[in-house]
Symmetry: C2
Subunit: 253 residues, 2 copies
């Protein structure tokens, strides 16, 4: 069932979707053709079908963008919108009780961290994360939690590749990293102080699924020195436990 | 380029995705085959391709669900996640200032209202809306705003079909409905008092895009009688204006 060039039809349909990114959210047919390597007539026909279905939308500027129907379909993703909707009242409560900080809700996808939600209070320190964004590092508060609780194979694959350095405080020694992750599992929370930015401190806590595995992480990021881990960890862990309990209640589906 | 039964390949790929719904978020291959009318081997092969790409995920229960990668792709939808991310700090502020109510952020898709976000305070009255959900009625606070500002053809198509009645207060007379919509345009907000539920009052305000057209609506729903439109409308309209201004700033992309 493979078409031209041995690419499956599913692959060719998906190829048209995967050229859209945070950097290129709007593309012309010519750009889509160049980026996919598919001929202009093929792209034209497939794009029209995707527009008819609602997966893409065509603007008055003749550029194509990801469509509302795809967003609605994606709202059914248990690991995306699902966890996020269940977690929302809990992180909302945490948000109400805090100031000058970011709250992140994240899941792991193989060697990446995907951010499901970010709530930021006014005057929070600047960070580059965004809901729907993806990080290739685990040096964040959520990342350390997700890596600490990842299957050993995943953990070793990450530690086996060069560890990126962002600041003088970023841990890049594999032995030290292993101790750090062991401490995360022992203490029930992670602390990433200035590991990602010169004045950013993130504390993360694990969210457990119905089978008790860690399925997500919630984190608080604030300006280094404005509060302590000891001050932040209890309410963060309470939030994570609340979400974990709610996930068990929503196990069906 | 049509395959078996004259359905395009894009259509067959999308058919596998559109069987997932709020009611059926997890399906087996057999269920997917029955719902699409595609043969089991075709469904098996296509589902494997969709899993490899991340559009679907297969659970330990052998059921398929919408995958995280589709959620990430959908996060690029300007009319979905895009408006929602820009609006979030504003509706968050509104949430902080209010109690016992729901805040909805919605857009129109032809004759439907799609809910992008719902923030609900504790003890808010029960409503059936949810983020990612879709309504086929415009009798809500957001709906009246979106219909009032829809192109005339869309408005007349809706008013030309039988208008659903939910309560004794639901307006179903076409002439009355037209006056109601004219008032929404004149006043700059909509009020749906007990039109959808016996004790629910929703007030909606329009959000304008960069070209000044109405692209979304924000609404507040509370228990009828607990506050007045006059009390609610000013802060709601201020929120809508704030979001409209932010959308102009994010015009690029």
């Amino acid at each position: 069932m493979s078409g031209e060039n041995g690419v499956s039809v599913t692959g060719k349909v998906l190829a048209l979707l995967e050229v859209f990114s945070h950097e290129t959210p709007a593309l012309t047919l010519t750009e889509m053709s160049r980026r996919t390597g598919l001929s202009l007539p093929t792209v034209h026909r497939r794009a029209a079908e995707l527009v008819a279905w609602g997966a893409l939308e065509r603007g008055q500027d003749r550029r194509y963008r990801v469509g509302l129907r795809l967003w609605e379909l994606a709202a059914l993703s248990p690991r995306g919108h699902g966890i996020r909707n269940i977690a929302m009242p809990f992180i909302q409560n945490l948000y109400d009780a805090t100031k000058e900080q970011h709250i992140h809700l994240s899941v792991r996808n193989h060697l990446d961290v995907v951010i499901l939600e970010r709530l930021s209070t006014p005057r929070a320190p600047q960070v580059i994360s965004r809901a729907g964004g993806r990080f290739g590092t685990f040096a964040t508060g959520s990342g350390l939690v997700l890596l600490a609780h990842a299957p050993e194979g995943v953990r070793e694959e990450y530690l086996g590749s060069p560890l990126p350095r962002y600041t003088d405080s970023t841990v890049t020694d594999v032995g030290l990293y292993r101790s750090l992750l062991a401490a995360v599992r022992r203490k029930g929370y992670a602390s990433s102080d200035r590991m990602m930015g010169p004045d950013i401190h993130c504390v993360g806590a694990p969210i457990h699924g119905p089978d008790d595995s860690v399925v997500a992480a919630v984190s608080l990021c604030f300006r280094t020195g404005t509060r302590s881990v000891e001050e932040v960890a209890p309410s963060l862990r309470a939030t994570a436990r609340g979400i974990s309990r709610a996930l068990v209640g929503h196990q069906a589906g």
